[in-house]
Each structure stands twice: as structure tokens, then as C-alpha cells.
């Protein structure tokens, strides 16, 4: 299972991820990203990749969690 993971220490709330993937995450009331959909299915994969790619501080990543 591919998971969308946020490094909370690194997130600065620039909000670009929300612009490209509002169906997967949002900027919360504290002003930082909060992931709504952790487990990424095939249909959401391209959007999740886009979110990870646009994060300017590389706080989002996709990990393949099959092993664990």
C-alpha cells in the first residue's frame, strides 16, 4: 500500500499541496498541512505524487508500506 506521509517538523504551511490535492489533504486551522487520505489507491496516485512534488520544502513523501 502506498502511503502519503507528512514530515510535520518540516511543513511550513506554504499550502501548495492543497492547491493541487485538496481531495487528499488540507491546511488546518494552525496553518499546517493535515493529510486526510493516507492510503493512496491507484486513482489517487497521480494527485498524491503532484502534492509531494510541489511541496517547496519536501515535507511530503510517498512511501510503499507493503513490507511492514
Amino acid at each position: 500500500m502506498i502511503k502519503l506521509i507528512l514530515d510535520r517538523l518540516r511543513c511550513e504551511g506554504h499550502g501548495l499541496c492543497e492547491e493541487v490535492a485538496a481531495q487528499l489533504l488540507h491546511i488546518d486551522d494552525d496553518g499546517y498541512a493535515a493529510i486526510d487520505v493516507v492510503e493512496i489507491n491507484d486513482a489517487a496516485l497521480a494527485t498524491a505524487r503532484a502534492a509531494a512534488r510541489v511541496c517547496p520544502v519536501a515535507a511530503l513523501k510517498l512511501v510503499d508500506d507493503e513490507a511492514s
Binding site: 511550513e12 506554504h14 496553518g31
Partner: protein
Amino acid sequence: MTSVPKSGIDLWADDVLVDPYPAYRALRELGEVVYLTHSKLYALTGYDVIKDALADPTRFSSAQGIGFNDGVNQALKGTSLASDPPEHTQLRAALSENLTPRALRGLSEQIKADAQALVARLVKQPSFDAIDEIARRFPIGVVADLVGFQGEARANMLRWGQAAMEVIGPMNRRTAENFPIAGELYGYCSQITQEALTPGSVGWGVFEAEKKGLVTEGAARHIIHQYLGAGLDTTLAAIGNIIALFGRFPDEFAKVREDLSLVPSAFNEVLRYYSPVHVWSRVATQDVEIGGMKIPGGSRIAVILGAGNHDPLHYKNPEVFDVTRNPIDHLSFGYGPHGCAGQGLARMEGAAIIEAFAIQIKSFRIGDVARVPSNVTVSFDTVPVLELEAV
């Protein structure tokens, strides 16, 4: 393993600095990694290799400095710019805490109103220089108000900010001439006191945080130094580029006028099309293989952000200025742990100027634009706005 292609192009030659894109293309066409024989640097020229390197501080380190001469790299020791995780993480947090979009939330309306007021004054004139009247003026006001500067500092901010970027270049005449001016900025910041700053400003708040032990002792002055060093010349370039590009491509300006939702996309495209900071540096901590080519450990690397932003493998027709493109993943703010800490503020400033132009100006023409060579920041020195027709 194939050998790294070599080029005699000097990134800091005057003719390259005033029009760098033909040189970037020539380098990119040689390879995504090119050895620059003149400067003895390994250059990264392609979008993907640049992004991968910026995301990987373990192999592409900032700890030996991000500049191209030993003096500046020594001077930057111990700052967030010139460190790697884990040391970097806390330094970065102290620097960026007051610059996150959340922290700046209250400032956005003021910046928009300031931009509208500035443009409202200018549209009454038949012509003006957009660099003097907007690009040099607007970011100084924003940063001075934010940090809480008054008096002497305000008058010197532009010179100081330009010198702080210039000295990041290789040890050429421009770097040598600017070290004393960058030193004035350092001297000023090393003596600044909380009382000199406007109560309630971000600069004042950094001193409060230091008093409470929330940032390490002495960090407040470093942070203020970085706000000034990084926040001016870069934004000056970006704002000048907005007006130069709208003047050169009036049809694209018309699209923004007709649809203000294009403002963020237009600013991203301005930043992609002309990168304010064209080159930055890292050091390879170990032998690194890229596309079958080896960069030896210990090599200094030139990360050519401007070349990556025009990589046709990533951006279709990169030479076309298209305000609908929305290249949200451009490299002009860098990327990764060292990605520009002030990008939220820069976006606010850029969007405010674009919006004010789009709302108040029907059309304009630009006269002959000019650049002066500068080591790190590629900006226009003059952009005459002519035949302006207000709404």
C-alpha cells in the same frame, strides 16, 4: 561510466550575466551535468538533477557554504544557509517561524493595499521607470515594516541587500567591491538592539524570543541579518521581471486583466521564466553518480536554477511566456530543506503588484530595458513604462 562533458562557458562573464539563457541552453544540451573548466565547478543544468540534488543534503551539502568564494563561505558558517540537517533544522525553524503563511496572514491585506496605493500614484504619470518606482521601492517598504527598521537602516537597505547577494559569487571584481558593503550590513546587524526596532514588529519579536530562550543567544541578530540579506535583491528582481514581461507580452497581461484568478499562476510563470537567483552552490560529500557520470566527492557544484527552469524535458516550450501554465514546481525558490524561507512573503508581494497592475492599468508599453551584470541575482536595472493607459 561516461566522462562528464566539459565547457569553457564562464557563468560570470558580463555578457552571460546580462543574458544567461543562451548559455544555459548550450550547457543543458551538453549534459545534465557539465564540468565548467573556467570556474572549476560541476554544473547541474537539468530540472530533475537539480531537484534531486536540492532534496538530498546528505550527498549535496550546504555545510561548506553555498557561495562561490571562501570568504563568503567562512562568513556564513553557523547560519541556516550553510548547514545541513540535523543542525540546520533548528536554525531554519527560528528563521522561518515568522515567515510562514500562517504568521504572515495578517499582513496580506496591508501589502495588497500598499501595492494598490503605489500603482494608483504611478498611473497618473505618463511614464516612469518601473525599477526605481516599484521594484526598488515596494520590497524595501514591506521588509522594513516587517522587520521594524527605522532611520539609518531603511536608507541603506537596498545597497546592503544587493551587496549581500553579490558577494556569493566567485572572487571577481564585483565580489571584491561588495565585501565592504556587505560588511556594513553585518556590522549594523551585529550591533542592533531591540529598542531600535518598531515594537510588535517581527524583528522586535525575534529579540523577545531570544529573551525567553526560544532561540539561542545571539541568534536574533543573525536572523535579522538574513531577512535583510535575502529578502530584498531577490524580490526586487522578481517584481521588475513582472513588469518587464507584461510589457513584452501584452497579450499575456490582457489574460490576467480578464481573469484575476490567474494572478498566482502568472507570478509562478514570471519566476520560472526569469529566475531571480540564477545559480547557487552545494558541495558533493562523496562520489556521486548521475546518469552514468561521476562527480568526485569534495567537488563544488553550481546548481543552475535558471537552466532547470527552462529545461524542455520538464516544461514544454520553455521559451514561451504563458500566464496560464502555472509552473507551481519551478526552481526559483530552490527546493527541499533550504527552500526559500521567505517565499510566502515573496508570493504576497508579487501577487499584490500583479493584481494592482491588472486592476488599474488597461495597457502600457515598455521602452529599452537594461540589465547590469550581477553575480547571483539577475535583474533589470531599468524598465521604462511608457504610454500607460489607466482603467
